[in-house]
């Protein structure tokens, strides 16, 4: 770990300006993953800009949808009655993440920018294209049990680790970003993340100095009937082997709209429009869920130790859909 400076930003303007002025600077929210990355020498930052005093707070649910400030803590959002009632998949994805202590500290914005748990990425003694571009990807022929079967490249097959992001991508959430110039823009979360391609070190489309200030989620019937199912190596406090975020709007036995996204299988949170499309207009039956789920892994490329994910992904989708059917 290197020496670094620390500053507390009093306004979003101050924060983004400080970040724009120093390429090696980082915002610090809860710090639950940033500090780990710095201690393990995976990331080096000259300056930490503490954003915790900024007023990026609030959990509101007007008719148009949910708005969550980027600094809201995972536990507060996960337990908020508005979220529990109207967006259960978001609440469940949060409460199935990490541990209570971490959730009390961790922010929503920080969660979406957490980095992969690929073991090669997390140990600087290994080569890793994501950490050191061009050094190689030992995971392709190594320990890839937990890694991606979708969206990978010969450069990188690391999964995106956030549970929250899977739920948000399913519900077509958008990020509000503020630039150093003071302008804001909104980006669908699904477009925010970048596939690894030949540059796995670039993980998203955040512009230099940009700050996530809020997350918005459109109101929808399928959001109220939604569910997050996470399959993991132990009952709690583990990342997903496979997870599914689903939402269904079923009227008179027929599916009017469906949302399905997968975690633990993609290099980014993996929405599966083909599955959704297949479901719409069909009766909400297990057979239909099964047929739809098969479409989720059509383009998958499994590796030596993660072949099980082909099957597990489908079954996780089916089981999650049954929960909300």
């Amino acid at each position: 770990m290197n020496n670094f400076s620390y500053t507390q930003a009093a306004s979003t303007k101050e924060a983004t300006a400080a970040k724009a002025a120093d390429k090696q600077a980082a915002f610090i929210g809860g710090g639950t993953t940033l500090i780990d990355l710095m201690k393990s020498d995976i990331e080096e930052h000259s300056l930490l800009i503490d954003i915790n005093r900024l007023s990026m707070l609030g959990i509101e649910n007007p008719a148009t949808g949910l708005r969550i400030g980027a600094l809201e803590r995972m536990s507060d959002v996960g337990e908020h009655p508005l979220v529990v009632q109207n967006y259960p998949v978001i609440s469940q994805s949060l409460l199935a993440s990490a541990s209570p202590q971490l959730r009390n500290m961790a922010s929503m914005g920080g969660n979406l920018l957490q980095r992969t748990r690929c073991g090669y990425f997390r140990d600087t003694a290994f080569p890793c294209n994501k950490r050191v571009p061009g050094s190689g990807c030992p995971a392709q022929t190594g320990d890839n049990r937990t890694l991606a079967i979708l969206g990978g490249s010969t450069s990188c097959i690391a999964t995106h680790a956030s549970d929250l992001a899977v739920a948000l991508v399913a519900l077509e959430a958008k990020l509000t970003l503020e630039s150093p110039k003071g302008t804001t823009r909104t980006v669908p979360l699904a477009d925010f993340y970048k596939l690894p391609g030949s540059t796995p070190n670039i993980e998203n489309h955040l512009a230099p100095g940009e700050l996530i200030t809020a997350i918005t989620v459109p109101a929808a019937a399928h959001a109220r009937k939604s569910h997050y199912l996470k399959v993991r190596d132990r009952a709690s406090y583990a990342y997903a082997l496979v997870s599914a975020a689903v939402g269904l709007d079923v009227q008179g036995g027929t599916i009017r709209s469906a949302r399905v996204a997968l975690g633990g299988v993609g290099t980014v949170p993996w929405r599966v429009p083909a599955v959704e499309k297949y479901l719409v207009g069909k009766p909400a039956t297990e057979d239909n869920f099964r047929a739809a789920a098969a479409l989720a892994v059509r383009d998958a490329k499994p590796y030596e130790h993660n072949k099980f994910k082909l099957e597990l992904a489908q079954r996780t989708i089916v089981r999650a859909l049954l929960e909300v059917a």
Binding site: M1, N2, N3, D41, R117, G119, Y120, R122, D123, T124, A125, F126, P138, T141, G142, D143, R145, V231, R232, D233, R234, A235, S236, Y237, A238, Y239, L241, H305, N306, K307, F308, E311, L312, R315, T316, V318, R319
Partner: protein, 773 residues
């Protein structure tokens, strides 16, 4: 005769006494080894190798040395030389080191994360930063990662465990008997690397009190063993090396021997002329204090059509380091657990670029029991009888591995009581036939056994005339309750209230005690403490019978008994006096007793004197001494998603005298959790190309969390064993996890009809097993 105070009303032994050190611990006053604030303390941090095999071409230390606060950057080029290293077979023997190699003695790299430099600085932060600035260039060679590696060469080690155990065992004609058996079962079991991961990482604080006098605050399971290794390596008399461990945050075997970081810290302190503290990081814990080796074992079980075992043939293949022939001896439990007339076992090893593996909770018995107890389950289904019945049919009425009778054995009672507590009779015998909603429900059981190992230790008791006492033994409390149980034994043996007794441990200046390992501490130390108290009483009785003012004047010493601090005539208990009166008359403030507690010196012989008479010891040695027990497990398996949850657990143990019902229960619960972890989730993954671990942290090396563990029911069968030691205590630290993984595996088979033999049983394996049908 059993120690007289046992089962007396008002006695402390056996009672669920809360930990005497509990308040110190929860208020943070208890000082663990890294918590001694010493004047002038400096901090050591290791730089470790990024490759697993090769040579150091150059080490750039200048940048690190220039950093503020850095006092020294030590490498193989400038670390003070040791008088003796374990790098040769004689050196290894003399030092008692687990690993036959000492880093920083040459430019060679044998394993990933091998220490290559040690930076000492005025603060931990400075040291961490500087350690990163040490730049090493290597000449890389292709490593061998394990016995699975196609490049690995398998060999017959002849002996395993540093020559302590044979790599071949043979009784009768096992292969012939197997070939002609009505039932022949062959199965292979695979085990990953496991790491102990105690909560407290290894740490050393070394202080040179004089150029030839050393004090080390160490996290070790045995101050004596650390002292002897250090004194051999440094060429110092033992009494000039003091090792202190007042509290330990768990060990599970990885703190049972001294590892390189300890001596490196000592040498660093020598080099800088100031005390140095080094604490391993969590990732370093995976590559600094050993591990349970990756292994495969094959069991051939021959039986008659009725399920009576005719033969067992066992082979084990495992990975070892470039220097040592270490393999835990799995075969011992297969040799003795059942009435097996023909037995054969052999080991083969492959050298790989890994550090030396070491004993980990129930070394040998843990994986060995998985193999035999799953195979016994197979046999039960094959014959079509209940898993308990198949075990009863093969019950060993004596120890077939030695031919000796048991000193005591309550296995049948454990089966019966366990079955009752668990509700075993409700079990549908057909596998895959019990459902609860989406879950397949399964019930499995397994036997447990662990030997009482040979061991001795000493204790001193000082009784004060005013009615309090200090009792000492250089033992270790791993966090399991040694302070508490020894206080209980001392209080009962001296006839004092608990709060009047202080028990001290964890210091080589105290009477020598064995390592807390192999489940020997409770039995050996409690026996020494009890006998030291007896020594006090014998001295007092001798004083009384020559003291004219004593009511016991002129009595024969053997006619005098003691109870609750009073000396009296056996025939006329009213005639006697309190020890305080006797001592005050003699102007004595205190009196000391000292004794050695020994394995095999059972209480039959111990009542009269501190030492067992040799004849009795021989008789004891003619007995096989083991704890036995049974575990019962219920699982719920979600076959679609591959997840297994343990939903019910019962362990019943027969383990001799139980010293404290509460701490003993905690030990059994801890062992069950440890075993459930090994069965379902624990695994250190070694990359096969780099021979380096990919999950060396507690986020990805999964140990059970609360949500993985149901309520655990524990019971002990009352057992009186006159042969083991003066207290009749067998020890429970390891038997608690023997058979646990098998009980889980057997429950999974009963639930699903799928026999899974590759640990851990993670969702991928469960799911794939369902697809292969």
């Amino acid at each position: 005769m059993e120690p007289q105070f046992f089962d007396q009303p008002g006695g402390f032994v056996g009672q669920p006494i809360v930990r005497v050190e509990g308040r110190e611990k929860v208020t943070g006053k208890a000082k663990y080894s890294a918590e001694f604030p010493l004047p002038g303390l400096t901090y050591g941090v290791l730089t470790t190798s990024t490759i697993a095999k090769g040579k150091i071409m150059s080490i750039e230390t200048a940048a690190a040395a220039r950093e503020p606060g850095v006092i020294a950057v030590l490498t193989h080029q400038n670390l003070p030389k040791l008088v003796k290293t374990p790098n040769t077979p004689e050196g290894k023997k003399d030092t008692g080191s687990q690993m036959g190699f000492m880093p920083l003695t040459s430019d060679e790299i044998f394993y990933a994360a091998q220490p290559v430099a040690l930076v000492v600085a005025d603060t931990l932060d400075h040291a961490i930063h500087a350690a990163k600035l040490v730049k090493v260039t290597y000449q890389k060679q292709e490593p061998i990662a394990s016995f699975h590696d196609p490049k690995a060469e398998l060999f017959d080690p002849q002996k395993i465990q540093d020559g302590k155990a044979d790599a071949h065992t043979k009784r009768g004609d096992a292969k012939g008997a197997f070939a002609s058996s009505a039932i022949q079962l062959t199965a292979t079991y695979n085990h990953p690397v496991y790491n102990h991961n105690p909560m407290e990482p290894g740490s050393t604080t070394a202080v040179w009190d004089a150029p030839d006098r050393l004090t080390v605050y160490e996290s070790t399971q045995g101050v004596t063993r650390t002292q002897s290794t250090l004194s051999a390596m440094l060429g110092l008399p033992r009494e000039q090396v003091r090792v202190i461990t007042k509290y330990l945050g768990g060990g599970f075997g990885c703190k049972g021997s001294m590892w390189p970081h300890t001596i490196l810290t000592v040498q660093a302190a020598k080099a800088v002329g100031r005390p140095v503290k080094l604490m391993l990081t969590r990732p370093q814990m995976f590559t600094s204090m050993g591990h349970r080796e990756d292994q495969a074992q094959t069991v051939q079980l021959g039986a008659t059509a009725e399920g009576k075992i005719t033969s067992i043939v066992h082979t084990k293949t495992s990975t070892t380091s470039p220097w040592d022939n270490y393999a835990e001896s799995n075969s011992k439990i297969l040799d003795m657990l059942y009435a097996t007339p023909n037995f054969e076992a052999s080991y083969e090893l492959a050298r790989a670029n890994v550090m030396t593996s070491t004993f980990m909770r129930a070394p040998g018995e843990a994986p060995g029991s998985f193999a035999i107890e799953c195979s016994m389950d197979d046999l039960a289904y094959k014959v079509g009888v209940d898993p308990i019945e198949i075990r009863l049919r093969n019950h060993a009425d004596h120890d077939y591995s030695t031919g000796h009778p048991w000193s005591s054995k309550s296995l049948k009672q454990c089966y019966a009581r366990g079955a009752e507590l668990f509700g075993w009779s409700k079990r549908n015998p057909t596998p895959g036939a019990t459902r609860d909603g989406r879950f397949l429900v399964g019930m499995g059981m397994a036997s447990a056994s662990y030997p009482v190992h040979n061991s001795q230790g000493t204790a001193r008791a000082r009784l004060y005339a005013d009615g309090h006492a200090v009792v000492q033994s250089g033992a270790t409390d791993l966090g399991t309750g040694t302070y508490t149980v020894m206080t209980q034994v001392a209080a009962d043996a001296l006839g004092l209230p608990l709060e009047k007794v202080r028990f001290e441990l964890g210091d080589t200046q105290l009477p020598t005690a064995p390592n807390s390992g192999g489940s020997v501490a409770a039995g050996t130390v409690s026996s020494s403490v009890y006998l030291a108290a007896q020594d006090v009483w014998q001295k007092l009785i001798k004083m009384a019978v020559v003291d004219k003012k004593s009511p016991l004047y002129k009595a024969k010493p053997e006619d005098v008994a003691t109870e609750k601090g009073r000396l009296f005539l056996k025939k006329d208990p009213k005639k006697g006096e309190a020890f305080g009166d006797l001592m005050k008359r003699a102007d004595m403030t205190d009196i000391e007793g000292m004794a050695q507690g020994k394995y095999g010196a059972g209480y039959e012989a111990a009542s009269a004197a501190a030492n067992a008479d040799p004849a009795h010891k021989d008789e004891a040695a003619q007995h096989a001494m083991h704890s036995f027990g049974a575990h019962f497990c219920e699982v719920r398996v979600d076959m679609d998603l591959g997840t297994i949850r343990v939903s019910k657990w019962v362990s019943v143990m027969g383990a001799g005298r139980i010293l404290n019902a509460q701490t003993a229960r905690s030990q059994i619960i801890g062992g069950a959790i440890f075993g459930i972890g090994s069965a379902l989730m624990e695994e250190t993954v070694r990359d096969q190309n780099f021979s380096r671990y990919t999950n060396a942290d507690l986020a990805s090396y999964h140990v059970p969390v609360n949500a993985d563990i149901p309520n655990i029911t524990v019971e002990f069968v009352e057992e009186h064993d006159p042969f083991i030691n003066a207290m009749g205590v067998k020890g429970i630290g390891e038997i608690s996890m023997v058979g646990v993984a098998a009980a889980v595996g057997n429950a999974v088979f009963h639930a699903t009809g799928k026999r899974l033999r590759d640990l851990p049983l993670t969702p991928d394996k469960v799911l794939m097993s369902g697809m292969n049908s």
